[in-house]
């Protein structure tokens, strides 16, 4: 399944930010990547601000941070879009960048989603910032069902990045009042394949649900990463066969290989 792993050029690239804007509570950054290959949805990049990456809380950030790409737009040259949620010093620093600022980018890394079989219907299920890797994937699928869950109306605007999403919010301010997995339960059957990304409890619910109903599911997981290319062994995720490096064997994992998502 080599198309799932588009190889990364063997060097960080210094890319210029061409667009930076808020999407609800999230921040969208677009960087021109003229030399980079077109990534497979689900793959990720290691990002760092080219200047002043550090000196935040506890002198951090210092290591690069992992981000799924949102979309890879090809016009005259390729533009990579990222969507960030500022949760700590690394994401905070990236969120303050604007057009003209530069970032170091390594990637695409890891393996992306693999396409449904012709007879399968794709159901995309994203929660919070976990909707990111699904955006590019939606565009490559025929008539997918897209289900997105958000905390509240502040975060729900990320749904505008999708073609035809159904939305749930925890507080009911937008769409279904409840969990996105409520919507998912009603959508899956023996002919669906689920593509999911979101917070661990959501992914665990998806895994359990799909496991029970014997529906194939590809889960894009997250974990702390230092390198992104298999060098540090820091991104271990427990599978039924022991630990694997998520940056190398994932971030998209077949749900059946996992005993649980933590």
């Amino acid at each position: 399944m080599n198309e799932r792993r588009v190889l990364a050029p063997f060097a960080r690239r210094r890319l210029e930010i061409v667009e930076a804007r808020a999407v609800g509570a999230y921040r969208l950054l677009a960087a021109a990547d003229p030399e980079g290959p077109t990534p497979q949805p689900g793959q990720f990049y290691m990002l760092a601000a080219a200047e002043r990456w550090g000196a935040g809380e506890d002198e951090r950030p210092w290591l690069p941070r992992a981000f799924s790409f949102l979309r890879a737009r090809r016009r005259a040259e390729m533009v990579l879009e990222f969507l960030l949620e500022a949760v700590g010093p690394g994401t905070a620093r990236l969120a303050e960048l604007g057009p003209g600022d530069c970032i170091h980018v390594l990637g695409p890394l890891g393996v992306g989603f693999s396409p449904p079989d012709p007879w399968q219907r794709a159901v995309l299920c994203g929660g919070g910032i976990g909707v990111v890797p699904l955006a590019g994937w939606e565009g490559e699928l025929e008539h997918p069902t897209t289900l997105l869950g958000f905390r509240d109306a502040e975060h729900a605007p990320a749904a505008t990045l999708f073609a035809d999403p159904r939305v749930a919010t925890d507080d009911g301010s937008v769409g279904h009042h409840g969990l996105v997995t409520d919507l998912l339960t009603r959508e899956i059957d023996q002919r669906t394949v689920v593509y999911a990304c979101g917070p661990p409890p959501m992914l665990e619910a998806v895994r359990a649900l799909c496991g029970e109903r014997e529906v194939p599911a590809q889960l894009a997981l997250e974990t702390g990463m230092a390198c992104g290319y298999g060098a540090c062994f820091g991104c271990a995720v427990a599978t039924r066969e022991g630990y694997v490096r998520l940056c190398l064997e994932g971030p998209v994992m077949d749900a059946r290989t996992l005993e649980a998502v933590r």
Partner: protein, 298 residues
């Protein structure tokens, strides 16, 4: 071209064991890795006799100007390494150094013995930062332990034996001297400094799955430089100096403090080509210095 224990090398920059996985990198970057291989020799991650899964996650904590890791030496074990990794590592365009660790002297002996006859292997590095389960002492923190280990394994191979010293010791110079007397060909240092971090939620539980870990990166550079200088003053062995190297200047400092080679570890996580960049910077610094000295003489 330089020489280290009889091994010709293109430049003095190698990787620190466990901080670059050439097999994984080839999967991520393809054959471009081989065309631009960043290190003059490749040091593979610690191999133990039995396979190890490693420590439970989380395994990483970002510290000020550094990293705490508690990886726990996951590896396929000796048999898995010989069968699966060695053939792939033999394809690298640079000499291979195999790093091994045992929990008893006999385990180390078994590992050394297994690689002694392998032409793919240019040298062996002994990771002695773990406790001897028989004595409870960290092998590399105690000079008697270190000497006895070397005495046991030295006769088993003609290949260069590099002892990777631990910095968590009172007198690293004494340990290095003991290693030299007992037949080591070189030493490498520093390994990581013992350190830990608590969970940010504030309930006092350790963050790392392995509870404590090892600190690497710029935070330990000053300690590494001091220890390399101490070892250089106490032994005549070639030294692989490492700890927090991020630039040619840092590499030069270690060489001036007495190292023959310089290892790049954590910086590769930030920049996979760090080794090549640092080798280039080092070469420019060296030629700038040569010009300067020549100018001063003229």
């Amino acid at each position: 071209m330089i020489e280290f224990c009889g091994i010709p090398l293109a430049h003095p920059i190698v990787n620190g064991s466990g901080t670059f996985d050439a097999i994984a990198a080839r999967r991520a970057f393809g054959d471009e890795l081989l065309e631009h291989f960043p290190f003059a020799a490749f040091v593979s991650k610690t191999v133990t006799v039995a396979p190890r899964g490693g420590n439970p996650p989380p395994r990483l904590w970002e510290a000020p100007a550094g990293l705490i890791n508690s990886i726990g030496l996951p590896n396929k074990g000796l048999d898995g390494y010989l069968a699966q990794d060695l053939p792939q590592l033999a394809e690298l365009p640079v000499p291979l150094v195999v790093n091994v660790m045992g929990f008893t002297r006999e385990e180390v002996a078994a590992l050394v013995d297994a690689f002694a006859g392998r032409p793919e292997v240019a040298a062996l590095e002994l990771n002695v930062s773990c406790p001897n389960v028989e004595t409870g002492l960290i092998m590399g923190a105690d000079r008697t332990e270190t000497a006895r280990l070397l005495e046991r394994v030295r006769p088993l191979t003609a290949k260069p034996l590099i002892v990777k010293l631990t910095p968590n010791t009172t007198d690293v110079g004494a340990v290095a001297a003991a290693a030299q007397s007992a037949g080591a060909d070189a030493v490498s240092l520093v390994n990581t400094l013992r350190g830990t971090a608590l969970h940010p939620r504030g309930d006092g539980t350790p963050w790392l799955g392995g509870r404590t870990g090892g600190v690497s990166g710029p935070a330990i550079r000053a300690v590494a430089l001091a220890q390399v200088a101490e070892v250089a003053a106490r032994t005549s062995l070639p030294i692989v100096g490492m700890g927090g190297v991020q630039s040619g200047r840092h590499a030069r400092d270690l060489l001036q403090a007495g190292a023959t080679l310089v290892g790049v570890g954590t910086e590769s996580f930030r920049d996979p080509l760090a080794g090549a960049r640092i080798a280039g910077e080092l070469a420019s610094l060296a030629s700038a210095r040569t010009r300067e000295i020549a100018a001063n003489r003229a």
